[in-house]
């Protein structure tokens, strides 16, 4: 049976509460191979929480998550990453003292399992650096490869964040507001990069900019107060009165 017999990512009945606050209420979600799913919802709907549950940063109270048929509930965040579930962060967690190139190379070393090498590593590390350059070229930020991240404009930091996630060669990629905080003049660059992401990767994108979501996603999931309110094709969602109400600030739930 090929890996394609299973969806890339499958979530069943995922629950999470912080005390009385239910941030995820029995969430079901499925990402087919190469899917482009947009996750939208007002602030506090639990979108980032969902990403944190999927990546294992937060432990779920109930439910199962499987990656190509393999249940990954028990795995730690790093174990899930090694099985092909990568993410970008809403707030940058880049290694600010390192160069742009090293940020990517360190991730590649991890993916290639050479990050434990201590004594005979020259060749393996050089390969990591070369591949890092390739990734930076794809992102159009090769010209700043030697620059320290702390001296990098914010828009390029966001691109680097995506470059690192791609360097992990994920099967499923969770993009948490990839263009958040980027000035409009630079945002188009990020959108171009999103359009060119490898087709075989299943992608879940969280984004406040509705133009971006509706252009990028072929399927949209609307979350409100920890629950899935609606799901469907972008056109359906855009026309849905309930969704419109939520976005206009009237609570219909």
């Amino acid at each position: 049976m090929s890996a394609f017999a299973h969806p890339a990512l499958s979530v069943r009945g995922l629950c999470k509460s912080f005390g009385a606050l239910r941030v995820a209420q029995s969430i079901d979600l499925e990402l087919a191979h190469g899917a482009r799913v947009g996750l939208i919802g007002p602030n506090g709907a639990g979108k980032t929480t969902l990403v944190n549950l999927l990546t294992g940063v937060l432990p779920a109270d109930a439910g199962t998550i499987s990656l190509e048929g393999e249940v990954i509930d028990k795995l730690k965040p790093e174990g899930r990453v090694r099985r092909g579930l990568a993410r970008t962060h809403q707030i940058n967690t880049l290694l600010v003292e390192e160069s742009v190139r090293d940020n990517v190379a360190i991730a590649i070393a991890e993916r290639e399992r050479v990050a434990w090498s201590m004594l005979r590593y020259a060749k393996a590390w050089r390969a990591c650096l070369e591949e890092a350059d390739e990734r930076l070229r794809e992102m159009g930020i090769m010209d700043v490869a030697d620059r320290r991240v702390s001296a990098l404009p914010y828009g390029q930091q966001r691109l680097l964040e995506i470059a690192i996630a791609l360097a992990l060669k994920p099967r499923v990629l969770l993009l948490d507001e990839p263009a958040a905080g980027v000035p409009a003049a630079e945002a188009h660059h990020i959108h171009e990069v999103l359009e060119r992401l490898p087709a075989e990767i299943a992608i879940l994108i969280i984004e406040h900019d509705m133009d971006v979501v509706f252009r990028f996603a072929r399927h949209i999931v609307v979350m409100v107060q920890g629950r899935v309110l609606k799901r469907g094709a972008p056109a359906e969602i855009a026309a849905d009165p309930q969704v419109r109400a939520v976005y206009l600030g009237r609570s219909t739930v």
């Binding site: 790093e78 990453v81 880049l94 360190i106």
Partner: protein
């Protein structure tokens, strides 16, 4: 960096051997401190493991070497290897208990382990000699070189071991493993997000660092043929941190500079006034922290740049 610079500290160390005279045993203790500080640079400097407990490893290695010499075999190298290995095992066990924590919690836990170990050694006086410590004899190094009265063997033996550890440390910090430690220091969240097993990585460097500190302790015991409870004392942990900060973290050579300057300044200042030498060290440390972000290594950097400019200026090509 021009590779020729790497030869400088070792040439100085060898030159010291021929010119030190009565100061040779002081030189040996500087080398031991360098090794201890170097070990701390791996854990604290590179991996960001906030610790005040390195005395535990130093003392563990020192007592390990002494007890091995007394009860098993007086061969120095064999004793050194055994003491180093058991210290690494001790670090793996204690590291597994504490390395999931960070910051002040971690600091307190490292401190607690060091204090517990010191107290255990104090209580187990039948084994450790308690306050009296242990005095013992060592066989010749490699069966050839006896530890002589002038400390010549002790100095060269320590220098060779320091060199071996330095090469290992240099390789490790520049390896992909070392780069991942840099990452862990800066952002554990980032490293988890790229699939790094952060906890295991920290345990690994903790063990390597501890092995190195254990070697330093073993060398201290073997070269003086004595070990006392002070090797486990908090002062040892504190001095190592001061030496590291003084010299400069994450440079490896910072350990050389910090330890050497500390011991020499202490020696001179104590000669001038035996009661207030701590003032001088304290003042030096404050000045370094306030004005030199990279420690005293920065002074060397400035000197090197100045020298290069001078050489270029006089060179018509």
């Amino acid at each position: 960096m021009n590779p020729a610079w790497h030869a400088l500290p070792w040439l100085l160390a060898i030159a010291f051997y021929f010119t030190a005279g009565g100061y040779l045993s002081l030189g040996t203790s500087i080398l031991v401190y360098i090794l201890l500080t170097l070990s701390l640079d791996l854990a604290l400097g590179y991996a960001g493991i906030i610790t005040l407990g390195h005395a535990a490893f130093f003392g563990f290695g020192a007592y390990g070497a002494a007890l091995f010499a007394i009860h098993v075999n007086a061969d120095p190298l064999l004793g050194l290897v055994v003491a180093t290995a058991v210290t690494a095992v001790f670090a793996v066990v204690t590291g597994m208990l504490i390395l999931h924590t960070q910051g002040v919690t971690l600091l307190m836990l490292t401190l607690a382990i060091a204090v517990l170990l010191a107290e255990a050694a104090n209580r187990a006086y039948k084994v450790t000699g308690g306050d009296d410590g242990l005095q013992f004899t060592m066989g010749p190094v490699l069966g050839l070189f006896r530890f002589d009265l002038w400390g010549q063997t002790a100095y060269l033996y320590t220098l060779v071991i320091l060199f071996v550890w330095f090469v290992i440390a240099w390789k490790v910090v520049h390896s992909p493993f070392g780069r991942s430690l840099d990452g862990i220091r800066q952002s554990q969240a980032r490293m988890r997000a790229i699939g790094t097993p952060v906890w295991w990585r920290l345990i690994a460097i903790y063990a390597i660092s501890a092995a190195m500190a254990g070697s330093a302790g073993a060398l201290s015991a073997q070269t003086t043929r004595f070990v006392g409870l002070n090797t486990l004392g908090l002062l040892v942990s504190g001095i190592a941190v001061v030496m590291l900060v003084l010299g400069g973290t994450r440079r490896l050579y910072g350990a050389f500079l910090g330890a050497a300057v500390y011991v020499v300044v202490q020696d001179f200042a104590a000669k001038v006034n035996p009661f207030y030498w701590m003032f001088v060290i304290g003042g030096l440390l404050m000045a370094t922290v306030l004005f030199l972000e990279g420690g005293l290594m920065e002074v060397l950097d400035i000197g090197r740049r100045w020298l290069r400019r001078l050489l270029r200026g006089s060179d018509p090509t």
